[in-house]
């Protein structure tokens, strides 16, 4: 599926680093193991890092001001750790760059991702983008605070989603 941003197909300006190959010029996403190598590049090309679900995002604190993207991974749609990582990046580390979901999340999780601070999705799944767009438009309210600081609806903790 192409890159999805806010329910729409968007152009992907990032490339992923290839194992064993030198880092290319331009915007590149490196695995966490190659973060130092990425930070050591000269020039102003944007740098992103892809992290595994078991990593504490606190480990990115020092590098974060120099990162334009953090990719979180849904190894399986059942593994919800990436939600917590994204939320901690936004809330605890005040990261305001792109948070990208990779791996195999379901379109039914799309709204959850957005509310946890994930901004783009690049999945290995085959679905038509419309299924993701529909998932984004499914609900008009939510019942708890989120990283998006949605407008309170007035009763309880309810928020307007649109």
């Amino acid at each position: 599926m192409p890159l999805l941003e806010n329910g729409r197909i968007a152009e992907d300006r990032w490339v992923e680093a290839v194992d064993g190959a030198p880092l290319p010029d331009g915007a590149v996403i490196v695995p966490f193991a190659r973060l130092e190598e990425g930070l050591a590049r000269t020039g102003t090309a944007p740098l992103g890092v892809a992290i595994e679900p078991d990593m504490a995002v606190e480990q990115l604190r020092v590098a974060l001001p120099r990162l334009g993207l953090v990719a979180v991974t849904f190894g399986s749609f059942r593994d919800g750790r990436a939600f917590t990582q994204a939320r901690a990046l936004r809330e605890h580390l005040s990261f305001d760059g792109e948070i990208r979901a990779m791996g195999k999340p379901l379109p039914d999780q799309y709204e959850f991702m957005l509310r946890c601070g994930i901004t783009t999705v690049k999945t290995e799944r085959p679905e038509d983008v419309t299924v993701w767009q529909q998932a984004h438009e499914m609900f008009s309210v939510a019942y708890q605070p989120s990283t998006l600081h949605e407008r309170p609806q007035g009763l309880g903790l309810r928020r307007f989603l649109s």
Binding site: R81, C116, V131, L155, L157
Partner: protein, 562 residues
């Protein structure tokens, strides 16, 4: 007749148009998911967590739909809708669960979206009654009525229900997550057998404070929850729970589903390390974002209907007179009622465990009758208990005798609450694909064996819990007598545990010895009970005698040659 002068439903949160729109969107979402499954766009593996999040299990013979009854509170209109669903889509009955929900056992997948729409029409749903998410929040069945209550826990139960509904971060946890909340010093919610147990009381500033227990649970590894935080201010309730569940989501095991509950994480880290992690998370949070403002709480509280508790001054005298003239009624009042905070009222437990019956099963006709009785006697309000019975919370004392006569006529007057006939049993191998043994026939045989109400009352308080496998849905570890079904070379055997309790005196039952064949189990329990009747001191309940003497005194009775 008791009349409800309020326009809001008594005892539960009244939905508004925003909530109703949300539910209809949820039904539309599930309908689309079912269509994607039928079209092959979703594999069964992918569809499974989505259907589970709407309470739909695939059991041995059919789909089972578990309908949420938030904190056990149900209106008569909702009960009638459940009766309609039982008649139309099931086999004329439903089953109350130990999490205060209702299960339908014979559901067709293609009917499910329509059933969910019918539920939504009466402000009900099946959201998060299954799956690795925060489940239905359970609560004291005498909430808002009990004489010993300090604070009505339903308001905060509703706040937590809403907060956990489609929570963006916590819908794909390592494993299921169960929260219970009590507002009485007398624990009727098994607070320390929950992932999070909350005990609320009024705080110094007039707002509630909470003791937070964490890491309790039954299942394969029974653990008593530990006190993580005391006197948590109300305004931090949501923030602190976010912190706990966030730590669990990040660190809970995902490699082995049997070691994935929060209790295993708390044990692995140790409570001090776990608390440090929660406190660190809590300290990092922007608490203003998560603050539970008193105005928010009061706004939710205002959506609850309040019963107008008016009773004649001589209501208690009228009841006392009826008890003097009717011994059967008097016995039932002793066993099946609970003191109300208002002197003219009383809470009634309707046993849905008749002699020889199936614990928790209720027919469509009985559901309709209970709805009618709730309208006539208790402001249209019904509570489902974690013991799989039904409570009418606010019954006028002078009208109790009349209510009892109606219950007896309908076969709902069994005087066995808290007694040996009030058995908790899981569905077992009759329905469940996980079970090793049939729980229901053992429950029925025990219930029939001890049917005599005089014998039951003489035996006194005694909780029997039956689970058909080690997943412990019948909470056998928490039973005074626990019965666990095991498979031995294709034969059903039953292992007995003694001394468990889910109340203030919380304890995990201990295995007494080798498992018994199915046909010897009921006799062995009868001998065990006989031994207790001989051994007990004046005024002792079974659990007291067991604790005084230990298992050895009962072992001979259980394993005596037939």
């Amino acid at each position: 007749m008791s009349t409800n002068t309020a326009t809001l439903p008594v005892g539960r949160y009244a939905y508004d148009q925003v909530d109703r729109t949300f539910l209809s969107q949820r039904v539309a979402q599930f309908r689309a998911q079912v269509n994607r499954r039928i079209a092959g766009d979703l594999s069964e593996d992918e569809f499974k967590p989505l259907r589970l999040m709407n309470g739909l299990y695939l059991q041995l013979h059919a789909y089972m739909l578990r309908v949420a009854i938030p904190y056990g509170m149900l209106g008569s209109d909702q009960m009638r809708e459940l009766a309609h669903i039982a008649r139309t889509y099931d086999r004329d009955y439903g089953h109350f669960t130990t999490r205060q929900n209702m299960q339908f056992n014979w559901i067709r997948l293609e009917d499910t979206p329509d059933i969910l729409q019918r539920l939504a029409d009466v402000d009900m749903h099946a959201i998060q009654t299954s799956g690795n998410c925060i489940r239905n929040v359970t609560c004291d069945e005498f909430a808002g009525a009990a004489a010993d209550e300090l604070l009505d826990p339903r308001i905060h139960a509703e706040i937590l229900r809403q907060w956990s509904t489609l929570h963006p971060e916590f819908s794909f946890l390592p494993r299921k997550f169960k929260i219970a909340i009590s507002g009485s010093p007398q624990d009727r919610v098994a607070a320390r057998f929950h992932d999070i147990g909350l005990v609320a009381r009024p705080g110094a500033q007039g707002r509630p404070v909470f003791d937070v227990f964490v890491g309790g649970g039954l299942g394969r590894t029974p653990v008593i929850g530990v006190l993580l935080r005391d006197n948590l201010p109300e305004e931090d309730l949501v923030a602190y729970l976010e912190a706990i569940v966030r730590v669990y989501n990040a660190y809970g095991r995902r490699d082995n589903m049997y070691k994935a509950r929060i209790k295993i994480l708390v044990q692995a880290l140790g409570v001090e390390t776990f608390r440090e992690k929660v406190d660190a998370e809590f300290a990092l949070m922007n608490r203003a974002d998560y603050r539970l403002d008193p105005a928010i709480v009061d706004g939710i509280r205002a959506r609850f209907g309040i019963p107008a508790l008016d009773a004649p001054a001589d209501a208690a005298d009228t009841l006392a007179a009826a008890r003097r003239t009717d011994a059967r009624f008097d016995r039932w009042v002793r066993t099946n009622t609970h003191p109300h905070r208002h002197e003219g009222f009383i809470s009634v437990v309707i046993s849905v465990k008749p002699d020889g019956g199936i614990p928790g099963d209720v027919t469509a006709d009985q559901m309709d009758l209970i709805a009618d009785l709730a309208d006539g006697w208790s402001f249209g309000e019904i509570r489902v208990t974690h013991m799989q019975n039904v409570v009418l919370g606010h019954v006028r004392k002078d009208r109790l005798h009349e209510l009892w006569q109606k219950l007896v006529a309908a076969g709902l007057g069994t005087p066995n609450i808290g007694l040996i006939g009030d058995i908790i049993a899981c569905p077992g191998l009759d329905y469940c694909s996980l079970a090793n043994a049939r729980s229901i026939p053992i429950a029925q045989k025990l219930s029939a064996r001890f049917a005599d109400p005089e014998l039951q009352e003489n035996i006194g308080k005694l909780h029997i819990n039956i689970s058909g496998c080690i997943n412990a849905c019948g909470h056998h570890h928490a039973g005074h007598i626990g019965i666990l079904g095991v498979d031995k070379r294709g034969e059903e055997f039953f292992q007995l545990t003694l001394g468990g309790s889910a109340s203030n005196d919380v304890a995990i039952g201990q295995i007494i010895g080798p498992a018994l064949p199915e046909d010897e189990t009921v006799d062995a329990i009868a001998r065990l009970v006989d031994a207790y009747l001989v051994l007990r001191n004046e005024g002792e309940e079974f659990i007291d005698t067991y604790r005084r003497l230990g298992a050895a005194s009962f072992k001979d009775a259980v394993y005596a040659p037939a």
